[in-house]
Symmetry: D2
Amino acid sequence: MTDENFPTEMSAIIKKEKQPGLELTNWPVPRNLGPQEVLVNVKRASICGTDLHIYKWDQWSAAHMEPPLVVGHEMGGEIVAVGSDVHHLKIGDHVSVETHITCGHCMQCLTGNGHICENVKILGVHVDGTYASYVKIPALNAIPMPKNMPWEVLSIMEPFGNAVHTVFAEDISGKSVLITGAGPIGLMAIAVAKAIGAGPIITTDISEYRLDFAKKMGADLVLNPKETDVINEILTYTDGEGVEAVLEMSGAEPAIHQGFEVVQPGGHVALLGLPQNNVSLNLTDWVIFKAIRIYGITGRRMFETWFRARKLLQTNRVNLKPLITHSFKLSEFEKGFDLLMKGKAVKVTLIPED
Amino acid sequence: MTDENFPTEMSAIIKKEKQPGLELTNWPVPRNLGPQEVLVNVKRASICGTDLHIYKWDQWSAAHMEPPLVVGHEMGGEIVAVGSDVHHLKIGDHVSVETHITCGHCMQCLTGNGHICENVKILGVHVDGTYASYVKIPALNAIPMPKNMPWEVLSIMEPFGNAVHTVFAEDISGKSVLITGAGPIGLMAIAVAKAIGAGPIITTDISEYRLDFAKKMGADLVLNPKETDVINEILTYTDGEGVEAVLEMSGAEPAIHQGFEVVQPGGHVALLGLPQNNVSLNLTDWVIFKAIRIYGITGRRMFETWFRARKLLQTNRVNLKPLITHSFKLSEFEKGFDLLMKGKAVKVTLIPED
Amino acid sequence: MTDENFPTEMSAIIKKEKQPGLELTNWPVPRNLGPQEVLVNVKRASICGTDLHIYKWDQWSAAHMEPPLVVGHEMGGEIVAVGSDVHHLKIGDHVSVETHITCGHCMQCLTGNGHICENVKILGVHVDGTYASYVKIPALNAIPMPKNMPWEVLSIMEPFGNAVHTVFAEDISGKSVLITGAGPIGLMAIAVAKAIGAGPIITTDISEYRLDFAKKMGADLVLNPKETDVINEILTYTDGEGVEAVLEMSGAEPAIHQGFEVVQPGGHVALLGLPQNNVSLNLTDWVIFKAIRIYGITGRRMFETWFRARKLLQTNRVNLKPLITHSFKLSEFEKGFDLLMKGKAVKVTLIPED
Amino acid sequence: MTDENFPTEMSAIIKKEKQPGLELTNWPVPRNLGPQEVLVNVKRASICGTDLHIYKWDQWSAAHMEPPLVVGHEMGGEIVAVGSDVHHLKIGDHVSVETHITCGHCMQCLTGNGHICENVKILGVHVDGTYASYVKIPALNAIPMPKNMPWEVLSIMEPFGNAVHTVFAEDISGKSVLITGAGPIGLMAIAVAKAIGAGPIITTDISEYRLDFAKKMGADLVLNPKETDVINEILTYTDGEGVEAVLEMSGAEPAIHQGFEVVQPGGHVALLGLPQNNVSLNLTDWVIFKAIRIYGITGRRMFETWFRARKLLQTNRVNLKPLITHSFKLSEFEKGFDLLMKGKAVKVTLIPED
């Protein structure tokens, strides 16, 4: 890496103080690549729900972040420099990014569970993130992608990985599935479920805006719990059988309860949505007598999920483009955050201008 | 079956009225074997916790039973007559009994999940049971056993199957395990866990009487939550790691919470004990961020569990005899029920005298 | 069942003598339903490769069949009578048929492996089959299907089940796959692989006629080993990676070798095609050093495969109709056999006329 | 690492030329630790069958090695220096060693299959090995072990890992198993199978010396194919059932054939032994109609196998000491090689004297 090739400063969105809000600022371009790091020129960064929490500076953010810091963790970009020990990636490669920077030597990392690394650091939370023209990441976290894939699709592969991870908790091809919550990951899960031949695919959400997208992505039946008795509707639709799989994407207790009510005996529930409080469960009737399996899902399997996600896109089994509803210049990030907070966008990508 | 070979009457313990208590009475020996049924001469019947509920006539019993009915479902006995279409069993075979009488044609039965048959009938609950000299059961429910195995061991294979089913929720050989609850099934689970090389094996219970048995069956560490901080003790014992597997056998909310607290990220929890009320769970921290798996366990896999259970006994990998603490004549059944209600016995077997 | 409702005779295709050929004849309509049997009015029967072997009276047929016997085992039909103990099916139900009549009590049947029952009898091989207007089968073997599904599709669900069973040996959604052999089951496997998001899907066959169908069913690349170096082509197409899964449908040693050559380390090979002779394998380089898994596939999982197969059709994830290239009256069966022997048809269905 | 703490020279056994034989020589102590490497003081090194091939300079050795090089890859030792980026290990730690030095970035490494890394380097084959007083290895390859475990046991954990990997191909607790080949890994596999409650355990070998050890390690039945009809004996012993699992440790075609003959329908075969030539298999009868699964096993899962192996030893479920039949000073290595070539030893450990 010859530092003279890069500007010394760039635009970046940072959390400056321990308080709500984000701010566009000049920030030094990362220097001093470690031997196993790469420098990526960010082409597109995408806004995640977590970034909204960081914007609002909620309890979780306050507990985990030490400002000042460049935020953002979703990204598609091009490698512009590689560390001295990096031989499997090269300048010019197009990459997406795995957000979890793992230690590589804890029990979890050593047994195929890097996604729950005991010493994980998260891009844009613990180290400088992707809302900038350049970002420095470990080479392992830079996932090479085909050059014919659009930058904006690369920028949303991280949450897509969450969706893939959840859908593949078990093999649901040829099985019925309920997806509770049609946020970005829920909508992506619908697309994956459709692509792998799950069906019927039922989706619930309290937003009609999102339910419209759910239909577009392939849901066979969409239900709004505000307007209908979800449990009855699902039982009717499935001839009283319920569903073989539930993918919980909302974190909402009523949705969780509905999922456990309608999952068939012998089925499974994959939990991705994060409830803010304890959830009361009827373990006897919902779990034990039904002999179901429950999976806690977090992050992406490193890197099985990425290989599968990439192949689903490469072979055109899944099309994520309809979910990218808006794109803005990095400097106009407030517009994107505003739309998302109002529930008027699915995925918003930001375009660095440097 | 030539009916004249059998007496017309036998002693049996029945639930006579919809009220507490059981009663010894004369009862007709079952007649009119169906083509796929067998008649078994009961050599030993064993008392289950469910039978205590039936004795007390609790809410569950009142909802499920229609007296009068012979109770009891655990048994070791000898086949004395076979139906016209039964060719794989013969008179003289020694058998244990699977309690769940399945329909054979519901979705669960058709997909390897007979243990959660939608139309299940339970011996001694819905049809005449094993606390008698003779019992009529479907041939499929009569599991042939080696003739050199004692009757009393045959009589406790049904709950042993529950233990085997729970231990084998995942492969825990060479893994650490916590078993919460050292009732009969918990104690059997310790023996199985030991036999398959799980370790260390930690067990919790609030009864010192049971914890003594836990040690005998192979637990490496026993803890009484009444006297110690179970979570701290387990974390200390495991160098802060927690355990890779939790087998929940108590149904008690505090034990369930302790299990979820100490299960390692990436581990699993198998739930067998039946909580009486909803349980409040921290799904976010205990399940999702730890990426664990939860298994609801009920009954025995029909009949994979039986094959494994039988082989573990046949090859002397597991010895259940220490758990049979008392045996009484059928007519003295009150003694056995009394000891069990007082927590002064593990397994009590009853000996029909006809 | 009131016998007077049915004719006493019907047209049927039988193997009359221990020699080549089949013959249309009058045959008694089955009588005396057992308590767990059903009588089915055959609407469509489909010709299987096995039936060609029976026609030719090859070594396998000579070893397994005792003429005279109605042949044929694939079928879609309507239930016209049910045995006294059959309560989950009723007259008028549309059904497809599972060919393997299992004993229900051998170790395999008792452990979820009914498809390899030790005492299996095969419809149209050991007992009277489906090339007739009526066939008597165990109720368990009659798989109820939605009434809006065409008879001809019902008639090919049995081989479709073979395809589903093979594809689901492991979860190949989002993975690359080679299918060697594009006979009927291979072609169905392409459709399933496509429906569950496997990709790329590569198919080999020595028949251009079949390769055309392979493309129609969704193969991304088709290769004829007679005309091209299959191994090189696959490695080139996959950037040197090979494929993650191989589904072997040909039984031909060269195809098997090609499969093992191109399967990736860590991948798997599912074997369905039946080689006539021993196959020489480089276990060291192909299996052990590549750490692959091999699955022997036979029949259909009873009945998990059927549930999945039905749902894939019901939800329109798979369309089998293009594979039914010809249909003839039962009396014109020779035309169908002729086309199949010449390799000029995929699936041929026969229509009983009684 | 302060180099002055170590001698500059040490005794080492090297392959000096491209020809048979090994030689004791003075060799420089490794210097210039990379940031993620450690230097280990070898306390015990153990001789592997591969080392015999290297000694003899067979075809495989000639194809893979570039002398001069320190040979040996099994070892127990103490860390005496750590690279600048190594924080999870420290000087004084006792370690065993994983032989496969992986690239960390190929598809296999990235998907939990590091044991089949596409760019693997093997200690003592491609880089300087363990037959010396000091060896430099990547920190990841140094597996920390409890300090109360003897050095000689640490030195044989690598082949023990092969045994653990093979036994755990599927969960065989409570299942019957045949282990063909009672070399060191086969004998360790017996111990593991015993420890996890598999049974009965049957072992075949053509060496009575080894069969005696097989009995000591827990085999229920040992058979010498030179003296008995192995297939008949096994079928008789298992009441005609055969075995549910076969662990192939010999690489000998007759043993492989015997394994496939006696494996039960629905069972599995794990292949570890490396046949020198292609093996002829009856895929139709042995694999497809029996619906078995075959696993190619190589190396150790990195690092799930190590965690399990360590726990089995730590909790005293397995005792490997009886297998260490001889120990010699490093300078007397020829004695150990001689015994092993004559089949008069199981595991021989070497003690560096520097």
